[in-house]
Structure formats: structure tokens, C-alpha cells
């Protein structure tokens, strides 16, 4: 049975503070440390109660303004393009799987059947995940144009005039040992990709990587959230699309921190893993 936060007075104090007034950087660190000591099942109870009370007292009486709705719909389309279709490409794993399939093909009959069975099973699993969508799509003639991979999209973006590229530099954090890679960012399209090789795998239930973009016009104190991502244990290159939450006027530096699952709004930078300063000019 999971322990309850109610048995730890300081934890309750911090959780109520988070739910009602927000936490400062040191309180955030302390809360993360306390939450990391046990697998609590009720750590969000105060935020949920506060939300229920807000719903009880806040009438839903104002319709969403039309211009804001339009902006949100555009935002949804951009989000779908960058996230829903292909959240993270583990190119190393894909290459390894392809190589394995190719080398397995001329092997013994039993092994070949097993390989085909594995491929068929993975196709069925993929189909099951998307079946609800397929069932609701209007039936139109299908034109089989393969979607560009993240690697191809990154290459295309890098070829665009005006796009910028910056190399990752590791900090002393253990997760950054032997990391190489870069950032490609197109200021006009407000889109880009980060690429890593050698970044330590994370357990998404315990922590996630979070990307930050330092904008010269906003100051160093409040970098813009560029999205959370995971690194699988299979190794190889990992490419992740950048999802800047706010418009970036003048990118000065990109950085990666390790945060709690889901990411944070303001990082205490307790685990700053990588930085990629953008060269002037």
C-alpha cells in the first residue's frame, strides 16, 4: 500500500503551499526531494481539492473569444505536427532494428518466420493504437507518400536560409558525459530540432529532460519552455522537435535540465545538463 503524504507534516505544508500560493525555488527543491523518497499516491490531493473548489465557485460564463480560439486552433495544428505524429525518434534503435531484419532475412527458415511474426505483431500493435482514428477518417483515395523522418525534417530545416545551428556542451552533470549533438532552429518558422548522441537514458516515471530557450529579449531569469522529452535506453541518436511555448525573438542559448515527470514551469536549474550557446552573427 502506498504511503500517504499526510504522515509527513512538512510535506503537507509544502503541498498546500504549492496548491494555494505557489513555491519558490528552494521550496520546489525540498518538495521534489521529499516526494522522491516514497511513491505517494495522494501527492496531488490538495491541488485537486483546490481545483474542485475553484470550479464550484467560478462560473463558466464567458465564452472563449473568437480571435483567441483561432490562435489556439493554430497552436493545436502546430502541436499535432510536432508532437502527436512523431514524439521522439530513436534513430539508433530504428537503424539497429532494420539491420537486424536485413541480416535475419536469409537465415534459417524458423528464424525468418519468427522475424516476420515479430514484424506482423508490431504492425498489429501499431494498427490497434491508431484504429480509433482510422475508423473515423473519411474514406478518401489513399496516396502513399512516406512521411519524412525527423532526421530528414531536421536536415531540411538546416538547409533553410536563416536557420541557426549550435553545438551542445556538457556540464559536470553525470547525464552529460560524452554527449554530442546540436540544435537547429529556424527563427522565422519558430521551429527546430535538438539532436543528441550519448545522453543518458531516463526513467520517465522518475524524471524527464526539459529543453529551455533563452531569448535575449526576455532575460536570463525566465527562459522559454521548449518541451519535455525522454531518452530511451537503446542508445543511438535521438532527435526531438522543439516546441517553444512562447514566441522566440532572439535565441541566445538552448539548455537542457532534468526535471520531475511532466516538466516544470520554472526550473531551479538544480540539474543543468547541457547548454548550446548561439554564436553571434
Amino acid at each position: 500500500m502506498s504511503p500517504s503524504v499526510m504522515n509527513n507534516e512538512r510535506l503537507v505544508e509544502l503541498l498546500v503551499q504549492r496548491a494555494t500560493d505557489g513555491l519558490n525555488a528552494s521550496e520546489r527543491v525540498e518538495l521534489n526531494r521529499l516526494l522522491g523518497q516514497e511513491q505517494y499516491s495522494d501527492s496531488e490531493q490538495f491541488e485537486q481539492t483546490a481545483a474542485a473548489l475553484l470550479l464550484a465557485g467560478c462560473p463558466e460564463d464567458e465564452p472563449l473569444p473568437d480571435d483567441l480560439r483561432e490562435r489556439l486552433l493554430n497552436q493545436a495544428d502546430a502541436f499535432a505536427t510536432q508532437n502527436v505524429a512523431s514524439p521522439v525518434a530513436d534513430l539508433g534503435a530504428i537503424r539497429a532494428q532494420r539491420a537486424q531484419e536485413i541480416s535475419a532475412a536469409p537465415a534459417r527458415g524458423g528464424g525468418s518466420k519468427l522475424a516476420w511474426f515479430a514484424v506482423a505483431a508490431s504492425l498489429l500493435i501499431a494498427l490497434a493504437g491508431w484504429w480509433p482514428r482510422l475508423m473515423n477518417e473519411p474514406t478518401e483515395p489513399q496516396v502513399n507518400i512516406p512521411e519524412p523522418t525527423l532526421e530528414q525534417r531536421r536536415d531540411q530545416l538546416m538547409a533553410q536560409a536563416g536557420s541557426i545551428r549550435a553545438d551542445w556542451k556538457g556540464t559536470e552533470d553525470a547525464a552529460a558525459a560524452n554527449v554530442t549533438g546540436d540544435v537547429v532552429w529556424d527563427p522565422r518558422a519558430q521551429t527546430g530540432y535538438v539532436r543528441f548522441h550519448g545522453l543518458a537514458a531516463n526513467n520517465p516515471k522518475q524524471s524527464q529532460y526539459q529543453l529551455w530557450i533563452f531569448d535575449k529579449t526576455r532575460g536570463d531569469q525566465y527562459p522559454v519552455d521548449g518541451g519535455v522529452f525522454d531518452v530511451p535506453a537503446s542508445g543511438g541518436d535521438v532527435i526531438v522537435p522543439i516546441l517553444a511555448k512562447l514566441p522566440i525573438s532572439d535565441a541566445a542559448m538552448f539548455a537542457v535540465t532534468i526535471e520531475r515527470p511532466g516538466g516544470v514551469v520554472v526550473s531551479d536549474r538544480g540539474r543543468l545538463v547541457l547548454v548550446a550557446p548561439v554564436s553571434a552573427g
Binding site: M6, V12, E13, V16, Q17, A19, T20, D21, G22, N24, E44, F46, E47, Q48, T49, A50, A51, A52, L53, L54, L55, A56, G57, C58, P59, E60, D61, E62, P63, L64, P65, L68, R69, R71, L72, L73, Q75, A76, D77, F79, A80, N83, V84, G129, W130, P132, R133, M135, N136, Y222, G227, V228, L243, K245, L246, P261, G262, G263, V265, V266
Partner: protein, 185 residues
Amino acid sequence: MTDFVLTRIAQGDSRALRECIDQFGSLVWSIARRLTRTRADAEDAVQEIFTDLWRSASRFDASQGSEKVFIATIARRRLIDRLRRSAAQGSTESIDDVETLTWTESGNKAETCAEAQTAARAVMQLRPEQRQVLELGLLQGLSHSEIADALKMPLGTVKTMMRRGLIQVRQLMGVTSVDSDEVAS
């Protein structure tokens, strides 16, 4: 197929992103208007909240609560952070007029979700001064320090009342029949 739009977003249904806006846009906008200083600030906040929602969709668990409460939780987290950041920057923006709200036994609207109605009933069982602290913090968006100033109370007392109030509401929401004297003590 699941009826939960957040579950469908987590499953990769891109159309659910738009449905989420149409289904919960008014809710998020109403909350943002309540907990931001200006209309422009609310518009920025709503855009940030929806990105948070789409990213967090996989964490929604229908067995733990309704979509509305999950969405209000995410929205509040973002808005509290913005309020804190705005206070740290010493914002002097004028505050748009917003009406003062309070709780009623039935919640403020017929369509209010069951958890909100239960919460409304629970909070009405608290002592009036304790309810007032929760009201100023949760409905008016005042910080603990602002509540202490407004009610001429020590900050520690505000924090204690807030903590006890939330714990009691939680208990009342989970218990069908609670002696109100016990709660008030």
C-alpha cells in the same frame, strides 16, 4: 473508443486537440480571467495552459477524477506561477474589473461537475473565517501575504487556516456524513 478527449490526445488523435479547445475553452478562459490581472494576460495564459494540457494528457486518469478537475488543476498551476512571477517582477498593471465570487451549496452552475458540487457542499460546512481565507486564495487569486494584509491576520495564521481548511474539505468530500461541530473545532 474512449469518450475522454484527454485520453484520445494521449493516444495520438490529433483531432482531439481541437475538440479539447471547443469542449474546455470556455472553462479555461473563465478560470484564467479569474486569476489574471488583465485580459491580455489571460489570453497569454490560456495559450500556455492548453499546451500544458496536451502535454500532460497522458497523466489523466479517469479513475482519479473528472477531466474538468484535471484541467482546472493544470490551469491553476500555470496561473499561480504567472501570479507569482508577476509579483516578483513588481507588476504595476491595473487590474481589470472582475466580480467577487463566493461558494453556494449547489455550486455556481447546473453543469458543474459532481466533484465541484461536493466541494461546494463541503466548504459551506467550514467556519466562516476559514471559508473566507479559502475564498480569497482560491477564488480571488490572492497570495497568502495579500490575504494576511486584507484580513489583518498574521501570515502564519493564514497558512494554517488554508492548510486545515483544505484538509477538512478533502475529508468532507470523502465522507458522506460528518458532524459539522467536529469540522468547525
